[in-house]
Symmetry: C2
């Protein structure tokens, strides 16, 4: 890409490499390869593996996409919960130069079909939960060559009206992980999120590799989400909505342990996962915290490790903030942003003057 800005007669001589999403997972696998990713699956069980495993399987999927003929810049869609397979697809699609298009399953089926057609999605990966939804919209999705069910072979439906249905674990098993991430210009498109908070049909925000990597740094900073390798992070905010506020990137960049809740977002399921996995930091919208906080209060429970959460999406009621801070010992970071901002715009934090000794 030719710079629109003048160049100095004296250019810097530092090592330079494009800011690519693949470099985040390469970094995590190299420096935090043993760190766990724990996922509650829609199948019901807990799945656990490491960043090293995730990197290996992401490369297998990248290889599979190549075999399926996906070219640079083409869109590959997902309809999926927060889980390890979804994260593999995040890195496989963007890392190979294609564009990850995360679709929000909470939209009306007609809007889902509209979005898939508008984006000209070539493939669509989906969780078992969404089999009926895909059966309903498949015929309307004109550009999709195949649908991929993110499950083991034994979960594949015996009969389906979905044309060209593929099995995710078959793709993994039949693809080599001998894959080098592509090198390309950092301003290339990386992912695509449609926002419905507008008039008329949903509109797409198209992120670049550069914008995503810079957002990962910015959002992980101490003044913002403050994510470190000492954290265990559970993103409640969905990966189908503005890239889960960037956590699938910033958590790997920070080497924190990752815990994915899947589809079980009720208070009891979340609380059990927070406790069993030692979650220290989470992120979500007020409605989800309401269920969790009520469950904890009604059962006279407490959090053993949970210390910090970011609440956004809509305004956090002051009463909920007070309960979290005063009764449950959980600091609340109040944040604001928009899909068009990758999405974090601002996050509240204390300054030195607020902490000054009297």
């Amino acid at each position: 890409m030719t710079s629109p800005y003048p160049m100095s007669p004296m250019m810097g001589q530092m090592m330079n490499q494009p800011l690519l999403i693949s470099s985040i997972i390469e970094f995590a696998a190299r420096h935090y390869g043993h760190v766990e990713i724990v996922s509650r699956r829609v199948e019901g069980d807990l799945h656990r593996y490491t960043y090293r495993d995730c990197h290996q399987r992401a490369r297998r999927i990248a290889h599979a996409l190549q075999g399926l003929g996906v070219k640079m810049g083409e869109r590959v869609a997902t309809l999926a919960w927060n889980g390890y397979r979804h994260m593999e697809i995040y890195y496989a699609v963007s890392g190979s130069g294609a564009v990850l298009h995360t679709i929000n399953p909470r939209l009306h089926p007609d809007q889902i079909a509209y979005i898939a057609n508008h984006a000209e999605d070539q493939y669509l990966f989906f969780d078992l939960t969404f089999l009926p939804l895909i059966e309903a919209v498949a015929a309307q999705c004109k550009t999709v060559k195949s649908f991929v069910l993110m499950a083991d072979r034994d979960r594949m439906p015996a009969e389906t009206k979905i044309p060209n249905l593929l099995c995710y674990e078959d793709l993994i098993a039949s693809s080599s992980d001998d894959y080098d991430w592509a090198l390309f210009d950092e301003n290339s498109a990386a992912s695509l999120c449609y926002t419905s908070g507008t008039t008329g049909n949903p509109k797409g925000a198209l992120y670049s590799h550069r914008s995503t990597v810079l957002h990962s740094y910015g959002s992980a900073m101490p003044n913002a989400l403050n994510v470190s390798a000492a954290d265990t992070v559970l993103p409640v905010v969905p990966m189908f909505h503005v890239n889960a506020w960037g956590l699938p990137y910033s958590v790997l960049l920070s080497g924190a342990k990752m815990v994915f809740p899947g589809a079980a977002l009720d208070g009891k399921s979340l609380y059990e996962l927070f406790e069993s996995e030692g979650v220290t930091f989470s992120a979500g919208v007020p409605t989800v915290w309401l269920g969790l906080v009520n469950y904890v209060l009604q059962n006279n429970l407490k959090f053993s490790t949970f210390r910090r959460t970011v609440i956004g999406g809509s305004a956090c009621p002051p009463a909920m903030m007070d309960t979290l801070i005063d009764k449950l010992g959980v600091d609340v970071i109040h944040a604001w942003g928009m899909t068009e901002m990758s999405p974090l715009g601002t996050a509240g934090s204390l300054q030195a003057k607020h902490l000054a000794l009297p």
Copy 2:
């Protein structure tokens, strides 16, 4: 700059702006304009003003450089301690597109002259302390058009053999702050540090705006120096040595209060400044900590606010680390890097597994 990497047929559509050093001080002045910079001056007193003031004076100096005929890519040198005027020059020189060349006054005068000639420095700014040094080397510095004494008019020497000696505060007073930072390619050279840790003559490492801004993000991250707006930072590591480990950039990016120790690096002076300004975080080499720790122990003192320090440059003796952690309640971040790395390479931090409940 033309990218050496292929571009996708689909480019991202996010807002894009070059990563320039001027954007750091613009950000600090806009969002943390009231935050203080406190400097112990070589004149002996404490000087205090805000990021907003710093930004205004930096623009005046940028204007003055323009008036002096400094062109994009040309080198402007400093021989100075850690202080507010030095920081103004940091931003004025790089922000205007010229190249900041910080010279280490601890080198042999012949090496200082060699470096100034090799870099072809056009102007050289220096602290009052270094007046005798400049008088000794001025005649050897063939490319320097003027030397600028970083002091008020009443500190200017009545007589000097330095040709074309200018007064810093005169430049400030006679220059307008109506100056827009230049926009240029982010790979343009921003600053230049010669390292003497090599064979033969010192060799220069030439940083770009991009490398400096990315280093600021990376070094401020929670896993590294963990600088936030809740901190008060005292960089003992000198601004004449690999840009004080990037703190003149990362501290502003983080909105922390800044405290500059000037030339007074003895235990008593540092301790008094730590206490009077509420310093929470510092950075330096083991020899400086030795003086500070001995002073604190010998006088049965304790730190009221100092909680974290990064020690690098040479290996921190385990006994010093134990004393800081166990006796004085100061966490020690052990870090390593090189001039060629901007300079932070690695920093030690605990991971979730180290903190897991038994």
